[in-house]
């Protein structure tokens, strides 16, 4: 019994980080109508940024978010307004291929810069855990990562619900022309959405760096996980993202080291085939 509970707890904790990975992807998908194939690389860039800054000035990696989040937000805005808005005028297929090109460029640029060595952001609470009962415990790190993810997602959904800017982002996602009739600059809104997606990638990157070892080439698998979250949850749906994260987290934990990834991939393909609009889409 304790064993089953342990698996469920681990799965849920893992699901938090998956949801966070997917939330940036789902924003781009739902609002900009763009599949950003470079999302995984953005996450890994966030991992490197947090790891390196933390090492350089000797602070807890979590504190590096103060720098990485605004920085990635600005880079995202610049990327969208400088490049992707332009390509999207040509068509959606070219835009997809441009993000694919970006992902390839970024992965190899990371390789050139940092070599293929494994990296990890070290934290003092790496191995501590809270014992609940015999055979049942919660890793402190996992809990912290889960809380970071949850807080990020809650703040983001409040922002989208309650602020003028957030409403304008949702309005743009519903109907770009009608939004522009309300005074919304659609291209600027796209840039902001990309900025936010990048900012969430920075946070997800930090979580990845604290939890697992990563390489310059790790982006691909995180992209697929993010995509899986979007597919299972339904594009543009934040509650869907949370549930999908949990489903994938559980699948991963149940499958274990050998088959976790495989089960997750198969699950995604099945969802794509059976219910491509996702669980939480109307």
């Amino acid at each position: 019994m304790a064993q089953v509970l342990q698996v469920v707890i681990n799965g849920i904790l893992l699901g938090g980080i998956y949801a966070l990975l997917g939330v940036g992807m789902t924003m781009m998908f739902g609002i900009v109508k763009l599949t950003n194939l470079a999302h995984g690389e953005f996450v890994i860039i966030g991992s490197y940024a947090s790891t390196l800054i933390a090492q350089a000035i000797g602070v807890d990696p979590i504190l590096t978010l103060v720098v990485t989040v605004p920085l990635m937000f600005l880079i995202g805005m610049g990327l969208q307004s400088g490049l992707i808005n332009r390509v999207m005028m040509i068509g959606s297929e070219p835009a997809l291929l441009v993000t694919f090109g970006l992902s390839i460029i970024l992965a190899d640029a990371l390789l050139l810069l940092f070599s293929a060595d494994a990296q990890r952001a070290n934290v003092p609470y790496n191995i501590s855990s809270i014992k609940i009962s015999a055979g049942l415990s919660i890793s402190v790190l996992d809990l912290i990562v889960f809380c970071i993810a949850l807080v990020t997602i809650i703040i983001l959904s409040l922002f989208l619900k309650k602020t003028y800017l957030g409403r304008s982002i949702r309005a743009t996602s519903d109907d770009t022309e009608a939004a522009s009739l309300m005074g919304v600059n659609v291209k600027r809104t796209y840039a902001i959405a990309m900025g936010i997606a990048m900012a969430t990638a920075a946070i997800a990157g930090l979580c990845v760096a604290m939890k697992w070892v990563y390489y310059p080439s790790s982006g691909g698998s995180y992209l697929l996980t993010s995509f899986g979250v979007v597919v299972i949850g339904g594009m543009g749906s934040i509650p869907g993202t949370l549930v999908a994260g949990l489903i994938l987290g559980l699948a991963q934990v149940i499958g274990g080291a050998n088959y976790g990834q495989l089960i997750a991939y198969v699950l995604m393909v099945v969802f794509l085939a059976v219910r491509p609009q996702g669980l939480f889409s109307k």
């Binding site: 949702r170 519903d174 109907d175 022309e177 522009s180 309300m182 005074g183 600059n185």
Partner: protein, 237 residues
């Protein structure tokens, strides 16, 4: 005669090589209700989209309150006090009624008056207050049109363009919405009504423009023109 509030001079609008509006010239005097009528495909909607900035004109000039607004993007034009209620309401279907309305006060100057405008809209359309927490996608066609009208009002416009607001609605609902539009006009807003129904347009408007094949072919007060002449222009006979 004083300068008209909206002046459209020889506007041409194209989709690729297809010319939807070849040369449209019309005036809209301040505080009036003006109708633009024409059969399906005459270019009325394209002209409205072009005035509101959703579509760039390929020739001609558009002046609003004496200011040249030709080719400005929609998000700029709405800040000048010119709003469009687009064809088919175009509500933000995944947002609540109230969020839809609040979106209307997105322009900076409108935000200060948000609460006040919201009150005004709810007074005009009490049913929207009842349904304010419902998703606008769940509303009936007529209610969606109300949301679209309310949303346009929230931008504090001095002029509103209504693009075929009666399309697909039941006659009683159309009557109701037209009554509201007259009320909005009485409160000081200039109105442009795009219509296919000549009869209704003539009854409501003080000035009528008739469009045929991308051009404005007839303009004048309905009482001066008479229904027959308008109908002839409408069908191009």
């Amino acid at each position: 005669m004083s300068e008209p509030m909206l002046k459209v001079e020889g506007v041409q609008a194209k989709y690729g090589d297809f010319i939807a509006v070849s040369s449209a010239t019309l005036d809209v005097p301040e505080k009036q209700i003006v109708s633009l009528i024409g059969s399906n495909g005459a270019g009325k909607s394209t002209l409205m989209d072009t005035i509101a900035g959703l579509h760039k004109p390929s020739a001609g000039k558009i002046y609003f309150k004496g200011e040249d607004i030709t080719g400005l993007p929609a998000e700029k034009i709405v800040t000048k006090g010119l709003a469009l209620v687009p064809q088919g309401s175009r509500c933000f279907v995944r947002m609540t009624v109230e969020d839809n309305l609040i979106m209307g006060s997105f322009p900076k100057f409108a935000r200060k008056k948000c609460a006040e405008s919201l009150e005004r809209v709810y007074e005009l359309f009490p049913v929207l207050k009842e349904k304010r927490n419902d998703l606008s996608g769940s509303l009936s066609g007529g209610q969606r049109q109300m949301v679209a009208v309310g949303r346009a009002l929230m931008t504090n416009p001095e002029m509103i363009l209504f693009d075929e607001i009666s399309l697909g609605l039941a006659p009683t609902i159309i009557k109701d919405i037209y009554a509201r539009i007259k009320e909005i006009n009485k409160q000081g807003t200039t109105i442009v009504l795009v219509e296919q129904d000549t009869h209704r347009a003539i009854k409501t408007a003080e000035l009528v423009h008739v469009m045929l094949k991308g051009q404005v072919v007839l303009s004048g007060a309905p009482k001066d023109l008479g229904e027959d002449e308008i109908k002839k222009a409408y069908f191009g006979i």
